[in-house]
Symmetry: none
Subunit: 194 residues, 4 copies
Amino acid sequence: MTPFTNRQLKIIDSAIELIAREGIQKLTIKNLSAKVGVTEGAIYRHFKSKIDILLNILEMFKENTESLSSKIRQEELPPIQQLHFLFKERFQQFAAKPALAAVIFAEEIFQNDNRLSDVIVEIMALTQKIFKEIIEQGQAKKEIRDDISSEHLSMILLGSMRFMVAKWHLSGFSYNLEEEGKSLWESIKKMIKK
Amino acid sequence: MTPFTNRQLKIIDSAIELIAREGIQKLTIKNLSAKVGVTEGAIYRHFKSKIDILLNILEMFKENTESLSSKIRQEELPPIQQLHFLFKERFQQFAAKPALAAVIFAEEIFQNDNRLSDVIVEIMALTQKIFKEIIEQGQAKKEIRDDISSEHLSMILLGSMRFMVAKWHLSGFSYNLEEEGKSLWESIKKMIKK
Amino acid sequence: MTPFTNRQLKIIDSAIELIAREGIQKLTIKNLSAKVGVTEGAIYRHFKSKIDILLNILEMFKENTESLSSKIRQEELPPIQQLHFLFKERFQQFAAKPALAAVIFAEEIFQNDNRLSDVIVEIMALTQKIFKEIIEQGQAKKEIRDDISSEHLSMILLGSMRFMVAKWHLSGFSYNLEEEGKSLWESIKKMIKK
Amino acid sequence: MTPFTNRQLKIIDSAIELIAREGIQKLTIKNLSAKVGVTEGAIYRHFKSKIDILLNILEMFKENTESLSSKIRQEELPPIQQLHFLFKERFQQFAAKPALAAVIFAEEIFQNDNRLSDVIVEIMALTQKIFKEIIEQGQAKKEIRDDISSEHLSMILLGSMRFMVAKWHLSGFSYNLEEEGKSLWESIKKMIKK
DNA sequence: GATGAATGAGTTTTCATTCAT
DNA sequence: AATGAATGAAAACTCATTCAT
């Protein structure tokens, strides 16, 4: 939605990488500007504050989540396959940009400021809502077991996904996330299918 | 193991609460000493550095995890009940001290320093190992389904637990974690039982 | 004397208003350029530095003071009426452009730089000299009391004028300066007439 | 009222002198700490912000004004002598601490921040009120002329005092303020006496 | 004439830590 | 044990100015 300039994209990217590699405490304007290759003041020509940079990272992710969700709704796949698609897509995105995974699942990072933590809560709620709705369709169509609430099923799906990503991050992105994710999905599918 | 003085316990407690309520970025010696009720310098009589305080928090949690695990091993319960016990116990601990939950599952907090992140990795590995072993016993005894690897089953268990705790934290600890946890456990049990 | 371009006049005007409304500390090239409606760099097409802008404001006021004074000298009015004219004229100018009043009587603003404070001293000396000379004429013509030195009489005249303007500024220009000034003049006239 | 520590007094004093000598724009924490002889951070152990320092300077002056006024009321002098006393006292104070004069009459300095400008307005109103009340007593007792309002008389008194102090400041404190002030008082007395 | 990007020096403030008392 | 004062480094951000386009 927001059309970023190249410089802004560079800054956002550098910020994500800095956080992923060294934690938010290392996301300082000094480190960031060094990574971008400009002086500290120059950053402020592109974002009005450090919080603003973080806000844009989250906003980008939120918009991406929304567009993924509407893309799926259009495709008219059976619910299980919709879940599979979302699962795969997310793991693919994270594998392509590991830093993003590290940032997006570390809510603590954004606890700092209300504007940030609000967006985090929104993203989390939105994501779970998307999964829940698909699961409920699946339950209605008898594709997905209905002896367990959609709330719990979505929690199990998202929870295990997050856990895998967190471990992957802590391991220094040392294995192939997409493969492991695919294998995890197979297990989950077995558990939730009717 | 480490015999803490009362002052040390007070400091550790205050630190955990500060982090839980406002994020690590608010864990400063100034804020901490104000919460404890002493001057800044006084903190250094009890811990040799800020990292040292965080290290002790993690160490405490790690020891607690270890003692929980050995307690279970002595009790000779059937595997499913062992899992139930661990699940319940953890949720109870977190409900009793919400701040701890907020801190312990937020690995990002400790990414700052290698000594810290090493302990985080150890704790995560240890926890998953405990769950995996019990699950494997359960599979051997035909109590737990064996068409899904113990690796994945433990991921699903731990992942959904972490997810629930994370949501609870983000919601401002606004609901009864123990009850929700109990209900989640029932769902998980249904899914993993043979 | 100095023939300003339209852009230069706009910049000077905006600068005066910025200072009057928010203080010199808010007179930054960024704020100024925003008010003028151009980018920061553009300002430097019209003035070679920020000090240069301030210098021109003072120079304008000084020239205005000089022309007022020579206008009066030509008109050959009785001294008391000359004073009245100056008094009225100044209050009229300030009422018409409140911002100018706020700036011109706030010597502190220009203490920053020697080139500026020198002009301030010149303006102050010039103004007092103009008043003193008229008063001395009045004393020679027995129109104005001569039991008090022209130095003191001019101080009282200028001092009370400045005080009224300062209060008006601090009150947010909340009352009619011209009327209040007229009334003050009546009082002063009573006090200085022979 | 507020019992300042020695360090705080030193800081306040240094701040006043810095402003008087070079203007507020030179009152930076860096310059201030250098003058005090400590590092920049050290200032913050004694005042919580730069504004706080300025606020305390004004508050000190305000309290001083109040105590002067109540001292006078107790002494039961004839109104003209009360005015004389206040006049003398103020000029004495300024002569003793020139920097204070430079700061206190330069309202612009404090336009920066609402908390500051509010106190400035209060001080100005308080001072004029004190003078006005004495003048009104004098008018009631037929000591002071009543063909001119107490409002205008106080404006003339305070205005000429401020003007003299401003000139003295701009001249680099180059003459004896107390003597000049005494002489000005004599002129003013002549003008306001009945 | 004007823009957009940048710089280098500066701003206020906070931080973890030390140390004499 | 604890305080109060201090330090040196670093934080986020702002400023006047320059310059290629």
